[in-house]
Subunit: 580 residues, 2 copies
């Protein structure tokens, strides 16, 4: 393709609304066009990148014996009522009515559609296991779309669903899929993706993993242990706090703490350690407005997803009214008389001498010993893990928190959907059973943007050749000079004949514009035909990552270019792990 | 792929709700799964057929220098307000509001999104012409979806949009696209598709063509002339009626016609020819409820699309109230005093002695001579053309009406969208101009179903090899016999190594079930490994269309199969017209 004809503008200045680099390059490089909040059109370069990613995904899914199908984007609400999600999912599920007033939804995931597709067919054990997938448009009505294609409302996603007759069989396939996922990311040029144990959230099920690309601009926090290789997302990481060496027990005593509102202020005023204080965080349950008070060590924060999972209900920050009995800012567990649910976080375990709220304006207790003063309580884990905390795997104080982008996820769903939607099969012994499911997702556009985020310099993306929009970017400097134009035209035609994908810039523009555009398109191999080198019988071949830059004889240019393209492919493909 | 593992059921009995054969085979063959009215999931065989069709379309669009892009499915209503279609399109445009109460629509075509994408980029003449396309999900909230994938609410469509600086340039590209369309249908195995001049309807513009596959089950009527090759759809075909040889003029006279309601009853009662009668059809305009009376020859019907185009407003059957002044059943043009718009169809031209309504209960006029009794009136063409009518092209009475399915359409849009949406470019002389557009659509699923409708026998589809879900259907009769299984397994493996797409049936089922399933999958080449032939060292190779059926030596089976596959491809591809 000739660059002169390609639709989409490239420009120099970073748009002011782009916070992360990949978003800025997506706009500046003519990859995406903003249509509405979280909704973009894709220009040819991004369409080409996503098509290549889709092909890699398709090959890996096919190799994992998953069968490609297609579910609708618009689904009847009744199907989501079967699973209970029509009610349970929030406003991110876009609901609407068609011209006959029938409730419909735009599919955000397709568990219901998958069960619906195979519910009758999968009626006997002999047909199991099986797996189906689609690559299709999804819609999630996100509150805050951001960062270009990273968090959008409409996106193309590969979603696969597997069906099994035993947990063991699901786990076996889950491993195959986990391996396929690593292969997909390796083939797409980001072998550094790690898998982390995660919370299953709205999808349901028990075991799940997220595939994380660690980049500073990532919107997720990931818990890592460099010592043993442990990784998890924040919700899934057990927080273990070491309280050995705490002060010995003292009598409990109510003390005046005027004007001390935060736990830090109280501890400073009393000369106590924050690590020996008991902080209260007050919530209300979304469904009942019932108060929930979480007590945890003063220097920890509540992880609200852990809390939601524990309560099986979402919560919001409490509106503490005079009638509720809680004293805002002075809430403590000792002689707490308000009607509320009380939760003790594990971070308080083993501390014998705590500062805590006095349940009276301007008063706190010192010397609280929970076991002695309150009795045996149940400790649960609802605290956010922190850098330096104890690794739940190897037990060392080696936890590190990194930022990352979730580029894929896999779930062991269990029977949540098959059971609620009445899918059964007859087992070999004639008994009727419910199949066990897994599901497996990758957002195509997000993956493209993530690669851009992980692989770029100051001037634009550096695409891995496996997913680059083109393989070779051919620049003809001075196309007004016949010999330049003829040499470049010949290379264009010969490379295309050899099956190489070439973007050809023969515009009559300055070298500055030509190279800036080439940097923004990020094509891995660049061939530059210029009058000076050509006068010496030479053509320049370089790579976008600057690792190669050489002059070759005109006669060798085509072979050298093809060899370089093949080498780049080989470098990526040779490091992909074998299929399981 | 092994048939035993493939999701989707095949069964024997025709579903009672399937009117046309392709719909019945789509359901019986495990191609589609009903999800909601006009909304289907696609099982692997149909997904494979549509993917192949998409690839053919993609290759032809790329060859026509159209650039693949992707527009969103969910679009902001504001974009459709720019073109005026947010208001003007009916309920088939699905409108909804997102969580922020922003009006949105589901894209049914993407003219607005196309202009939005290139509006800034296409700001200078030097960038023209250019063309963009996408293959993406569309939604049209049809009142009456029917016939499986032929008329659905959600579907995958290729839609292309071209931009030009002159009408001549548009016409040049329109011809290129017309040729690409023929190539697409030829490559998909339906070279018999014809292009017909059509009415542009909601899309707008002046010149447009529909690509029609002539099948008895088609939902469209097509006007053909076998004499000169003229073709058009019903709306686009001018109706010319030959009224030579009519009775001479007589005086006008009011006559009692008791109990005669229809024009046929009146003519019978009066002993007049229906061909010399003037029928009234009464409508009301949708927007104003104003009455519109169409007078036309008694034996013709009104084509309401022609009428709508003439009035620039949709109409509905009239509710004739006592106050409106029209006399239901006795409405005539002479001394017509009701407040209404009167339209004279061309079919009345040249008749000098007409029977018409008397504008009074139970009365008609005879001897009406419009020119003499009413004066000079304007005759327009709003009548439905009929078999035996005069061909607008060659003038012979050779018109024939056939049934067909519209499998594609192309439009010369003019400046309808570019103008309303404020897209301009600076011409070479510095003047600011509005680009001229074309648009070009093909429904992928409908094309698949249409091929099935055109190419089938009593037992299932007969897929052209270019779009068949697989190229070879391998049947292993008696897989319980080791020698059969081993021979078939070997063929399966060798054919796959040779790059042939094989569906392999090694189920332990009866020959009846095995062949019925193979017929329903319609794969063009069948290889059957059976114990009897194998004992003679032979394997059977046949084609789905029964043109080939032969026994070959086991050692030759693989080569012979590959040759047959190649021959089938060659037969189709060699007859595809060259690219323009």
């Amino acid at each position: 393709m000739k660059l002169a004809n390609m639709v989409g503008e490239r420009f120099k200045d970073r748009p002011s609304d782009c916070v992360i680099d990949s978003h800025a390059f997506s706009v500046r490089g003519g990859y995406i066009k903003y249509v509405a909040n979280g909704i973009y059109s894709l220009y040819p370069p991004m369409k080409r990148v996503t098509a290549k990613i889709e092909n890699i995904i398709r090959e890996e899914m096919d190799a994992a014996d998953s069968q490609e199908v297609l579910f609708p984007v618009a689904l009847p609400g009744s199907l989501w009522e079967e699973s209970g999600r029509y009610e349970s999912v929030g406003e991110e599920l876009l609901r609407f009515k068609d011209r006959n007033d029938t409730p419909m939804v735009l599919g955000m995931t397709h568990e219901e559609a998958a069960v619906h597709m195979v519910r009758e067919w999968g009626n006997t054990y002999a047909k199991y296991p099986f797996s189906i997938y689609q690559i299709q448009t999804k819609f999630r009505d996100e509150t805050r779309p951001r960062a270009g294609l990273i968090r959008v409302r409409e996106f193309t996603m590969k979603d696969a669903y597997s069906f099994h007759t035993s947990q063991e069989d699901l786990e076996k396939y889950y491993d195959v899929m986990a391996n396929s996922y690593f292969r997909i990311f390796e083939r797409a040029g980001i072998p550094e993706v790690i898998s982390v144990k995660s919370d299953s959230g709205m999808i349901g099920g028990n075991v799940s993993h997220e595939y994380m690309l660690l980049v500073d601009a990532g919107e997720d926090s990931i818990v890592l242990c460099d010592e043993c290789g442990y990784s998890a997302n924040m919700e899934a990481a057990d927080t273990t706090v070491d309280n050995t060496g705490c002060s010995p027990a003292k009598p409990i005593e109510k003390v005046l703490t005027p004007h001390c509102k935060t736990i830090e202020e109280v501890c400073t005023f009393l000369g106590a350690k924050v690590e020996e204080s008991c902080k209260a965080v007050v919530y209300q349950k979304n469904m009942t407005d019932e108060y929930v008070v979480v007590f945890l060590r003063g220097d920890y924060e509540v992880n609200e997803t852990k809390l939601t999972n524990l309560l099986k209900d979402k919560v919001h920050a409490a509106n503490i009214t005079p009638e509720c009995g809680l004293v805002a800012g002075f809430c403590g567990p000792y002689k707490q008389e308000a009607k509320c649910e009380i939760i003790y976080d594990k971070s308080l375990m083993g501390i014998e001498n705590l500062v805590c709220g006095g349940n009276e304006e301007d008063y706190h207790y010192t010397g609280l010993n929970i076991k002695r003063d309150i009795g045996d309580v149940e400790y649960v884990d609802v605290a956010k893990i922190r850098t330096g905390d104890i690794c739940p795997c190897c037990g060392k104080k080696t936890i590190r928190i990194s930022r990352g982008i979730e580029v894929g996820n896999i779930f062991q769903l269990g029977t949540k959907y098959s059971k609620s939607m009445g899918m059964t099969y007859t087992d070999i012994d004639g008994s009727v059973k419910t199949p066990i499911m897994g599901c497996y997702g990758i957002g195509v556009g997000r993956l493209a943007a993530s690669v851009m985020e992980a692989k770029h310099d100051d001037y634009g993306p550096i695409w891995p050749i496996t997913i680059a929009p083109w393989q070779v970017h051919l620049c003809c400097m001075r196309p007004d000079k016949d010999e330049c134009k003829a040499a470049a035209d010949n290379i264009y035609s010969e490379l295309q004949k050899a099956g190489i994908e070439v973007i050809y810039d023969d515009r009559n523009v300055s070298a500055g514009i030509m190279f800036a555009d080439a940097d923004l398109l990020g094509v891995p191999v660049r061939v530059t035909v210029g009058p000076k080198n050509l006068a010496n019988g030479q053509i320049e071949i370089s790579t976008r990552d600057k690792s190669v830059k050489k002059l070759v004889a005109v006669d060798d240019a085509i072979t050298e270019t093809i060899n370089l393209v093949n080498e780049l492919f080989e470098t990526i493909n040779s490091s992909v792990r074998p299929r399981k």
